[in-house]
Subunit: 131 residues, 2 copies
DNA sequence: ATTGACATTTGCCATTTGGCGAATTATAAT
DNA sequence: ATTATAATTCGCCAAATGGCAAATGTCAAT
């Protein structure tokens, strides 16, 4: 099913581990992933899921996105150079609205977006005149 | 084993999809993920693997690392070089809320903030008055 | 109400992932 | 060489993922 996975990832992991002079069991203890699983990953019998990848990243000295990219979960460094204001999706975010919304906890922010989508559906049904 | 996965990811995906007025089958056709699986993901019955996440990112208008972060596969400040999210005022702006809101025209964004402040004043008057 | 055309959900199954414990294979140390 | 000990691999299992097809739900137009 998955075809873009890097088949060399196992070798990369193994090289990273031996470079740090860690045994499978030691890496297992540091990462919380079983040593047998790590061994199978290294020799390509298994492919690590995102959560396993996340667990082994730091013990091996990888940045998270770095190892995700190596694994083929992320495409090679798409992150552009920073510009002044990020362009979330399509349009631009009004700085005032952003500042106001940012003062709320995440749940409230999400709830506000939920309310917005409800209002939008009401609005469209009004203009269509149905019901 | 998985503990840091975002329980709200399904809702985020659903909101993203309906915001684009896509059906499950359409998103399935665009992403190559079966519609039944997408449906289960949206209502939290399944959690998308990294490869599924990657497939649905672009059709939903997410950056890859953005949706990986929302899912909990990457930790919040992923690895950008220089570019951090701006800290509007006190707290942090939820990326999903930001991109949803950014799709609206400025007036609508302001109106949403207006509604938010109304809700907040109602909340304060409730806690002051009763109880 | 009935039909038809959809969208969504459910049942079921194959595949994959990942852990535990038992082999098996190095690696030393007598 | 023969142990003792550590490291890796193998066998088997439970749980999760994801697809397909059938069932169910929704809704507009007769």
């Amino acid at each position: 099913m998955e075809q873009d996975r890097n088949i060399n990832l196992g070798e990369i992991v193994r090289q990273g581990r031996v470079a740090l002079r860690l045994t499978l069991r030691e890496l297992s203890a540091m990462s919380g992933v079983s040593s047998s699983h790590l061994g199978r990953i290294e020799r390509g019998e298994r492919f690590p899921s995102g959560s396993v990848l996340r667990k082994i990243a730091s013990p091996l000295g990888f940045e998270e996105d770095e190892i995700f990219t190596l694994a083929g979960y992320l495409s090679p460094h798409p992150s552009g150079i920073g510009e002044g204001h990020p362009h979330y999706g399509g349009r631009e975010l009004d700085p005032f609205a952003a500042r106001m919304l940012a003062q709320e906890p995440i749940e409230v922010q999400r709830a506000v977006i939920g309310i917005l989508s409800i209002l939008k559906s009401i609005a469209t049904s009004m203009t269509k005149g149905s019901r």
